[in-house]
């Protein structure tokens, strides 16, 4: 594994108590939700991970403990290495601190996570829906939200579905 990644993982384990997981050559640190801002700041200032490449969330329903993981991918331009961070969150309406002050482009990423998963970001400047319509109810990418599948119209149920489908009149 890369020198710099090893140093970073070691230093963060001593300072913040983060766990390290290695899977298929990728390094991921598991960070608790109170410490995420400090960890990001340390990674950016001391170890040179200046680019926030990706920020997303994963839902593990029906397991509720933890139900969500928020995933961050940081990239260091000088050394060309990536590091991943994982923040486990419990419950159905979790919240975590925003990292918008460290990486400004987290603004839209966090809005999207709020829209799709319902995870609140404390301290965010502008938390409102970004991809769904303004008055949509529900958070689509949660596992208990249905896909919205429409029944396929074959010849045997053609007329039934035709009657139910809302066609536009003039």
């Amino acid at each position: 594994m890369n020198e710099q990644l090893q140093n970073a993982a070691q230093a963060l384990k001593e300072k913040f108590g983060t766990e390290m997981v290695e899977f298929r050559g990728d390094v991921t640190l598991i960070v608790s939700s109170e410490k995420i801002v400090e960890v990001c700041r340390t990674l950016r200032d001391e170890f040179g991970f200046e680019l926030l490449a990706a920020q997303t969330a994963v839902d593990y329903w029906p397991e509720l403990e933890p139900r969500f993981h928020v995933i961050y991918q940081l990239y260091s331009l000088a050394h060309s290495v990536r590091i991943g961070l994982q923040v486990p969150l419990q419950g159905n309406a979790p919240s975590v601190a925003t990292i918008e002050s460290i990486y400004p482009n987290a603004n839209w990423h966090e809005r999207e996570i709020w829209d799709m998963f319902g995870i609140r970001f404390d301290g965010h400047s502008d938390l409102r829906r970004i991809l769904m319509p303004y008055d949509w109810e529900g958070h689509p990418l949660r596992k208990d939200y249905p896909l919205g599948y429409e029944e396929v119209q074959f010849t045997f149920n053609y007329d039934e579905i035709d009657r139910r489908k809302p066609y536009a009149k003039e």
Binding site: P133, P140, G148, Y149, E150, K165, Y167, A168, K169, E170
Partner: protein, 160 residues
């Protein structure tokens, strides 16, 4: 040549009113720019030099709905976009026609989920459906020619 023979000495041609009006409507039908997604790129390719659509009278695409007669819904319509689509359709003056280009506009396409309207005929009445994902420019041109044939067959009773 043909018209002069018919004119003869009088300088007058007699036709049915329907034929003249339908001929005028088909030969200069202006589409409204309504490219949403991937089908829009194929629509732009159909407009470009290789599969020229100006041969069929569609020299330019008007961005303003008040100045166009044909709306080619090219691409997937999401639930957020559907009210906008209906509003633009209402702003077009009569006579107007709609071509649903591509699978997503005709029936929802590959995306059978919460975010896409399953077929744009839930929002606006459609005249011609063009299948394909995305349809080749030749398929779109075939759809336009089909629409022209439909318009040529219209009678006074069906006019708005």
């Amino acid at each position: 040549m043909g018209v002069e023979q018919k004119l003869g000495n009088m300088g007058v041609v007699t036709l049915k009113l329907e034929q003249v009006v339908n001929w005028a409507r088909t030969n200069a039908m202006w589409p409204m720019l309504f490219g949403l997604a991937c089908c829009a790129i194929e629509m732009m390719s159909a407009q470009a030099a290789n599969y020229d659509m100006s041969r069929f009278g569609m020299e330019l695409m008007r961005a303003s709905p008040r100045q166009s007669d044909l709306m080619i819904v090219a691409g997937r319509v999401s639930r957020k976009m559907a009210p906008v689509l209906r509003r633009l359709y209402d702003q077009m003056p009569d006579p107007k026609w709609v071509i649903a280009m591509g699978d997503c506009a005709s029936c929802g396409g590959v995306f059978n989920n919460y975010a896409i309207v399953q077929g744009v005929d839930e929002v606006v009445p459609v005249d011609v459906y063009v299948a394909g994902c995305p349809p080749r420019p030749e398929a779109l041109i075939h759809g336009i020619i089909t629409l022209h044939e439909k318009v040529r067959g219209e009678t006074i009773k069906e006019w708005a």
